[in-house]
Symmetry: C2
Subunit: 244 residues, 2 copies
């Protein structure tokens, strides 16, 4: 019986069950204040995935009752923990990806008016603000020592760093861009083009290729070699993805 491999989403759920037991409802709530910022899934998935994981023996379900209402609590099995560890040891299938509708609106800005653009920029600002505020709240929890998984603080700190950086990026980009759009009203086309050219040059400027420490490079190479052998070998080329 050669079951299809688990999806990334399935492994992410499995990871949550490695932390503690959850009912799908609890897990959905938890994911709204965490994962949703870097790996969002629909609520319906949180209900449909655990039964599938249970069917493979990676989770076990138990029914509980409150009055006349039942709820299903899932726990991870040793096989589940093994599957999670195996996934973590394999190289990531893909890097971080953005899905940014407001940025697409900026791209097609020339077909709308400047207020449409300001609106898109404001929505990026709002997202950045939300993310920073959440991160700030979580930061306070860790400082006070009452965050849910204190023992994982080493790892959570890296996570927090990434998310906060991204939140700040969104807020600051929005502020810069809104100012730029306002400036268009005071500039003639030649000045606008010149300013745009300068902005393009300035964005790229701070990029001084920073390399990883040797340890990380070595780990990645080992992972890639191990990962390249286990799954069914590709046909001809190293198969660049089909995403456009």
């Amino acid at each position: 019986m050669d079951l299809p491999p688990l999806t990334v989403a399935a492994h992410v759920m499995l990871g949550h069950f490695a932390l503690r037991d959850w009912t799908p409802y609890e897990l959905a709530r938890e994911m709204r204040r965490n994962i949703c910022f870097f790996f969002p899934r629909a609520q319906s998935q949180v209900y449909s995935e655990p039964p599938r994981l249970a069917a493979r023996g990676l989770l076990v379900a138990r029914e509980e009752v409150t009055g006349r209402r039942r709820r299903t609590v899932y726990s991870i099995t040793p096989e589940g923990r093994a599957a999670l560890a195996a996934w973590l040891a394999a190289p990531p299938a893909k890097g971080p990806e953005l899905e940014a509708e407001p940025i697409a609106r900026v791209m097609f800005g020339p077909f709308g008016c400047d207020d449409d653009l300001r609106q898109a920029v404001a929505s990026v600002h709002a997202s950045g603000r939300r993310l920073c505020e959440t991160a700030h709240r979580i930061c306070a929890e860790y400082q006070a020592g009452r965050a849910p998984f204190q023992t994982h603080i080493r790892h959570r700190a890296l996570l927090h760093d990434f998310l906060t950086s991204f939140g700040i990026l969104m807020e600051e980009w929005a502020v810069r861009s809104a100012a730029r759009i306002d400036a268009w009203e005071r500039e003639n086309p030649g000045e606008q083009t010149e300013a745009a050219r300068r902005l393009i040059a300035a964005s790229t400027a701070p990029w001084r290729r920073a390399d990883l420490p040797a340890s990380a490079v070595a780990a990645a190479r080992r992972g890639a070699e191990a990962g390249a052998l286990s799954p069914s070998r590709r046909r001809r080329p190293p198969a660049r993805g089909t995403r456009t």
Copy 2:
């Protein structure tokens, strides 16, 4: 005939057809060097969407022949341009979203080994590097004045700023985090916790709420008011999304 509203992906395609005519094949290639960084879609979508848009009268198709091979070129119609403008005037459905498998791996890092973590970090670094290199190439095209849509440089500059910032974020986060993981080998648990606590505080520190200029705030409010009235009214609450 009340057709279901177009998806965001459909509008993004429509936007491309506002730029010029494309065959799906050409468009797929174009999207691989642009949109894929902030609004990735599968190649199959690039073939299936244009016929649907054509059925609504937003595009027109024409067949061309090269030898005995046919290709389908799509052009936008006036109705298509109107639909695009209407979409741009409506408030964005959602803010920028991340989908970052490697970051999820960091979250569940405690269930794997440190080399798994280094691998995940390296994949973020590689993504950042790819994005920065692409941005750098595009920057050179604009400075040389031979980029494809020079007339949109005002808008493209904002785009470029966002993407470059994100690329730099990924690279720098990866370098910081790899160094942190290496440091764990020289630290005892107490020191690790202390360093994690400091990192959490330090990430949040640079966040000094920056507000948008009044013009952007006003534009967003107008958009929200207009947008809240047009689509079919929601039942009870302002309907928070079903994403977890």
